[in-house]
């Protein structure tokens, strides 16, 4: 397995910059998830690592060796494609054997490796079938098998689960995690699904507009989003954002319309500074006093209910246990702990101010 370093990687198509200075150090055996909305440059970054796209600028290093000029077949990486890209004219067995045949490996060894992988992925009974005769989940497994059979230096996965139905996706997610642990594999995984990112990654790389917005373990990205984009992208339901003003007396807090909300005090802000505050829907609690809101809509999610309400002239949503949920038209009070209030600059970057 390999470590992969990206150094100020750029990709331009004509005068459109798709990847804009991505630097990232991927450790050996690490499961890295690139996540972001469509068009954020995550797939292009992956394809550059694979060698399928040429960087316009910057460097890609595998185990410290610059590979910019190496064609994909000489990088010893394996890739799983979104649409599987199986060889429809070959049987499953031949699909699995294909990566081995370009290496100098004896036939019996190829056969034993193929059956080993087929065993591992539960494909033994379909080895003689062609991809066209397989279910979506089986095709996905063949694509995975073709990647692992060769024991490459790293795995690149481009939204491999997005063509599966929901229950199968959860199942395969688990299998991929287990597989990567067992193989101690370096994995670079691209997805637009933040649930996949949060559940699978050792470290999440949140991208937007071709730039890395934040790199960190899922919990860190969730708890300390570095800007409003990351804060809004990670977490479901989405974080609430309010425009507010800093008020330093009598204690540190923000003015949200007529209301005063205390926040943590270890931050560099000035009186009356405009800020954006972010509060996750689950950070709100119903209380006897606090922020008054008028409930406009409720969505029962089962054990929890998502409540939409008006707060100081701005729309907000919060999540409470269904048993205690208010109804449409109710006026209730919400409380929120100071440490649950994320404070961002109010400019377009929305960088995090507090808590540090």
């Amino acid at each position: 397995m390999a470590a992969i370093d990206l150094v100020d990687l750029q990709k331009r198509f004509g005068n459109v910059t798709v990847v804009d200075g991505v630097s990232l150090q991927i450790q050996e055996g690490e499961f890295i998830v690139l996540v972001g909305p469509s068009g954020c440059g995550k797939t292009t970054t992956l394809r550059m690592i694979a060698g399928l796209e040429r960087p316009s600028d910057g460097e890609i290093q595998i185990n410290g060796v610059v590979v910019n000029d190496l064609p994909p077949q000489r990088r010893d990486l394996a890739m799983v494609f979104q649409n599987y890209a199986l060889y429809s004219h070959y049987t499953v067995a031949k699909n699995l054997a294909y990566p081995l045949k370009s290496q100098r490996i004896s036939k019996p060894e190829i056969q034993s490796k193929v059956s080993e992988v087929a065993e591992l992925l539960g494909l033994s009974h379909v080895l003689k079938r062609r991809p066209g005769q397989l279910s979506g989940g089986q095709r996905q497994r063949v694509a995975l098998g073709r990647a692992i059979v060769r024991e490459p230096r790293a795995f690149l996965m481009d939204e491999p689960l997005s063509n599966l139905d929901a229950s199968l996706r959860v199942e395969m997610r688990k299998e991929i995690i287990e597989l990567s642990r067992r193989l101690k594999a370096t994995v670079v995984y691209v997805t637009h699904d933040q649930v996949e990112a949060m559940t699978m990654a050792d470290r999440v790389v949140v991208m937007n507009h071709g730039r890395v917005q934040q790199v960190g373990p899922p919990s860190e990205v969730f708890e300390k989003p570095r800007n409003t984009f990351v804060a809004g992208f990670i977490g479901t339901p989405k974080m609430n954002f309010f425009s507010a003003q800093i008020d330093l007396s009598p204690e540190t807090g923000v003015r949200l319309g007529q209301e005063f909300v205390p926040i943590l005090s270890d931050l560099a802000v000035s009186q009356d500074q405009s800020v954006t505050i972010g509060i996750r829907p689950e950070a709100f609690a119903l209380s006897e006093s606090g922020l008054p809101v008028d409930v406009t809509l409720t969505e029962n999610l089962g054990s929890e209910t998502l409540v939409y309400a008006g707060l100081a002239g701005q729309q907000c949503w919060f999540q409470v246990p269904t048993r205690a949920a208010p109804r449409r038209g109710d006026s209730v009070y919400l409380s929120v702990q100071p440490e649950d209030i994320h404070v961002f600059e109010s400019d377009e970057n929305g960088n995090r101010i507090c808590p540090k």
Partner: protein
């Protein structure tokens, strides 16, 4: 069936299709039927259901001409033409489709522009060239000319098939450790088998029916091909219609037979399923 369910329109459509099919097939039917009629009857006038049937035209043809030699010569030339045309057309259309180089589109158009020249103007330079290289009156020489005539259109035929191969499976092949050539041979070629089959048919038909170069380049009787041999049945003063029609049937029959048998084998196993 899409379209109208109005019975009258449906009937009209079938009627039109039938007329078109009839117009296309009648000449062939006429040839087939008349090849079994005595020559005197044929000259007497057309009949769809013959009043007298005979095999004399066929036996006469086989006795008086080296038919099997011609068939053998044509077959050798046709196979050589296929063997030369298919790899060249596959490589060229792959290059024109997948490799990026300046002037690619212009080259793609230029390939077809070859057909803008009447082939007759090539006869004399070709003759001179082949004379110098000792290719006159050889199977290879005629096969080279046929390849020249077939390849441009063959490249063009393959373009559409080439475009239909998803680029992901080529990328997958590269990721699986294969270079361009291996990917082309192992992955792309099997995917475009129907196209390759069409090209092989086309190359064979070109070789089988080409007359001009065959008559000029193949001078000895032993190397004569079917198209030239059959044309010789048309004498200066007299045409034996019966034998000519029998000869036409026996020229077309091997091709039709061969491809109706091989088509199924060629197209087998090419199915969807590589992509979702």
């Amino acid at each position: 069936m899409s379209g109208s369910r109005n019975p009258f329109l449906l009937f009209l459509r079938f009627a039109i299709i039938l007329i078109i099919v009839a117009v296309l097939l009648l000449p062939f039917l006429w040839i087939l039927v008349n090849s079994f009629r005595p020559t005197m009857d044929i000259v007497g006038g057309p009949e769809i259901i013959p009043s007298a049937v005979t095999l004399a035209n066929y036996t006469g043809l086989l006795e008086s001409t080296p038919y099997w030699t011609w068939v053998r010569n044509s077959t050798i030339v046709a196979i050589m033409t296929i063997v030369l045309t298919v790899p060249i057309a596959v490589a060229a259309s792959y290059g024109l489709n997948r490799c990026h180089f300046p002037g690619r589109n212009q080259l793609g158009v230029a390939v077809l522009a070859v057909y803008a020249f009447p082939t007759a103007i090539l006869v004399i330079p070709m003759f001179a060239l082949f004379n110098r290289f000792g290719l006159l009156d050889t199977y290879l020489g005629l096969a080279l000319v046929n390849t020249l005539l077939a390849t441009p259109f063959a490249i063009w035929m393959l373009q559409a098939f080439m475009k239909s191969v998803p680029s992901e499976i080529e990328e997958a092949s590269a990721m699986d450790g294969s270079g361009r050539v291996r990917t082309l041979v192992r992955i792309v070629v099997p995917q475009i088998m129907p196209g390759i089959f069409s090209v092989a048919v086309f190359a064979m038909v070109v070789a089988w029916t080409e007359y001009l170069f065959a008559s000029v380049l193949m001078q000895s009787d032993t190397n004569r091909v079917l198209a030239v041999g059959m044309a010789d049945l048309i004498g200066q003063y007299r045409i034996d219609w019966g034998r000519l029609l029998a000869g036409s049937v026996m020229t077309a029959a091997p091709v039709i037979l061969f491809f109706s048998i091989t088509a199924r084998w060629f197209l087998r196993g090419v199915s969807a399923g590589s992509l979702d």
